[in-house]
Symmetry: C2
Subunit: 430 residues, 2 copies
């Protein structure tokens, strides 16, 4: 049964993703209408540069006054693709207050203030959907929020940033150093002019906060996420990883503590075994591994960015929100009933690969082993290599807390026989 | 806001999956209530053998009269885990008529009569959900139906049967023959006493029909799916596959024709390149690769069967259906508006790997090549091996229709110099 009044959509932002959303809304109008149960029309497009030629978008729809657009009162769905905190937050809030539901791809805003926005949406009885905010086209938020709604998720382990995966994959496959791989990523358009948000893990941390909150039905803020970038990963680290049958990925890891009473969220480079499904995620692709009580191990894989893939996620949300408007219902909103606290990084338990430069003389290994034992960090394997009075020790530990490991490393640094700590890397996915 | 009247659930069938659903409903009652917004209670369990001890299920809930249970009138959701066509179909129909929504894991029934059941559900304004019917715990139906609702899916390529994947993986990794690998699968509980439904592809064909219908928004019946089992795959086929940098998988393939005017659905063993993400799906795991216009290539991976994983999918649906009951809405139903016809297998276009036993004398290759050319099948590579007056020719074609290939093979068989056609296998995923 098709109703005839079209649903009206306002687009905020018309860059790479927005123009693709507008294009598909036009070229696939009949399909969208059939799937929604009513036609859907573009009612306005807010842009910063109104003079730019935008193929396929009627000039009369273009406006620079985004606030007036979301205040019109006849808009069913506002699609926010501006990014950043302001004016996006105010525009979304205003949209809810003027009767619209919202689809957003804004990971920074959702990570920082998802709870606040969900509260306003709920108060106004409107939808807030944002599948496109995490891992581009990959259906992830809907599976976590809906498909796994009857299960207990224990762990989310993902490659959620395409730029850094491209760089690390390049380092792994060619032996290139970080800078060389970054330069290639820039030349190919995979890295931005200022790559900080990607390579320092800020982008992945925002996604980790969103995923952890949804997976564990609690609130996880951006400040709760431990973050370490991947700019200090070296070709030597990849060589060490290979020696262990591993590769290195920048991972977003959200975990429920073994006792179930708290959760953690973190982003850092880590070694993972080559046999792990995430190890074979190449180039700029993303993939997220989910472990739950009943379902076991699931993986979701696909393009993590780009105009068309992100538009696919936005339009999937748009169809869902439009269906909800017609039926007068709203979809599942924020779920934070568990109120689980987020533990600091020191309480995270994992394994570590540590490279030490040490003096090449008898008794060093015994000294080092004593320090590990004193801090309660159990050693799995040690490899000792010596030449010309210098030697290196590579220690792989059993599971230990980050706090114990940090204590160990600090004590090691104070040993006369330890010349330096060459690298510390966590080992995940085993 | 929690409403206090509990939602009542009737369970039809209490085998491996049903008992797990009942267990999780009990042990995770508080979580389910928080996620649904109301408590959910088990109101009755229909079984065939009432005397069997069922831990955790109060004896007074057990009944052998499934019909009376679904007719009670106070049941909110019927969870159908009986399987097969009857009495499952009648029970589901009766459930809708008496006010319940339905969650089912019944792939055979959904493949055979999904359209009819959806029509009754719609007429009664009730939900029919069945995520567990395809690929166990892997969220697949919801992503296809909802996440990709604004995209155009062109292809679904999947490993949707764990038993056959276990057998083929075993043959690949150990060089075992089919029977030996099947025996091991049986011994480990991966294959049933009568493995016909799995190894002849009936199970995968039912899933292909369901997936094709949802992916292309049309109706695809079980009879529309071309089906070929994997009992004739040999160790020699695996050796050939390795020579091409491939492995062999039993694939369910649903495709939109290049001109967009029709679709095809088929199940058969095929060679796929080792670099394809599906090639590394090991053991009894399932994975489905989806290609769409905007999202590009997505993959969904996880356990395809088993009590707990299937229960996870059932409970995800149960939460969604309960939420819909509370809000008075229904979720997205059947979508068959495109009414795309299903083309016969002869119109499927793919590549082929053909092994011929031929006479070892001059001119044979020219003869064989002429036959391919006459049928419009272009050859990519030919490998010729001869010994003791016998020779083999391995031909890999470019893309050609199945009808052309069949015509070619028939003509080859009539050649004096061709002693036999040792194997024909399709090559996919390139």
């Amino acid at each position: 049964m098709m109703r005839t009044r079209p649903l009206k959509v306002a687009l905020l932002g018309c860059g790479v993703v927005g123009s693709e959303v507008a294009r598909i809304m036009t070229t696939h109008a009949a399909d969208l209408a059939a799937r929604i149960g009513a036609p859907v029309e573009l009612a306005g497009v807010a842009v910063r540069r109104p003079d730019k030629v935008r193929e396929g978008i009627p000039a009369e729809l273009i406006t620079t006054d985004a606030t007036a657009l979301v205040k019109r009162g006849d808009i069913d769905v506002v699609v926010e693709l501006i990014g950043g905190i302001e004016p996006a937050r105010s525009l979304i809030t205003t949209a809810f207050e003027h009767g619209a539901s919202v689809v957003s791809a804004n990971k920074a805003l959702l990570a920082q203030d998802g709870a606040g926005l969900h509260a306003i949406a709920e108060e106004q009885n409107k939808d807030l959907y944002y599948e496109a905010a995490v891992a581009g086209a990959i259906p992830l938020i809907r599976p976590l929020r809906e498909s796994l709604a009857g299960d207990k998720v224990n762990r989310v382990l993902g490659i959620v940033n395409g730029t850094t995966n491209f760089i690390l994959d390049k380092m792994d496959s060619t032996g290139a150093g970080y800078q060389e791989a970054l330069d290639e990523a820039s030349a190919l358009g995979y890295a931005e002019a200022d790559p900080t948000a990607d390579v320092e893990g800020f982008d992945a941390a925002a996604k980790a906060a969103i995923l952890a909150g949804i997976a564990f039905h609690t609130r996880v803020g951006l400040d709760d996420v431990y973050r370490e970038g991947m700019t200090e990963v070296t070709a030597a680290d990849f060589a060490s990883a290979k020696g262990m049958g591993c590769t290195i990925k920048l991972l977003a890891i959200c975990e429920r503590a073994a006792d179930g009473g708290s959760v953690t969220a973190r982003v850092h480079p880590a070694m993972i075994p080559l046999a792990h499904p995430l190890a074979s995620v190449r180039g700029a692709y993303n993939a997220v591994f989910v472990e739950s009580d009943a379902a076991g191990q699931l993986m979701f894989y696909g393009p993590g960015a780009g105009g068309a893939p992100t538009a696919s996620a936005v339009l999937g949300d748009l169809v869902a929100v439009c269906r909800n408007r017609i039926s007068g219902a709203t979809g599942p909103g924020a779920s934070a009933y568990t109120q689980l606290p987020v533990s600091p990084m020191g309480e995270v338990v994992t394994r570590y690969h540590i490279s030490l430069d040490v003096a090449d003389k008898p008794g060093v290994l015994a000294q080092v082993a004593t320090v590990f034992a004193e801090h309660g960090v159990s050693i799995d394997t040690v490899r000792q290599q010596g030449k010309d009075g210098e030697a290196s020790l590579v220690v792989v530990t059993h599971h230990a807390s980050d706090a114990s490991l940090n204590g160990t490393v600090e004590a090691l640094r104070s040993l006369d026989t330890v010349r330096g700590v060459a690298s510390i890397m966590r080992v995940e996915g085993e």
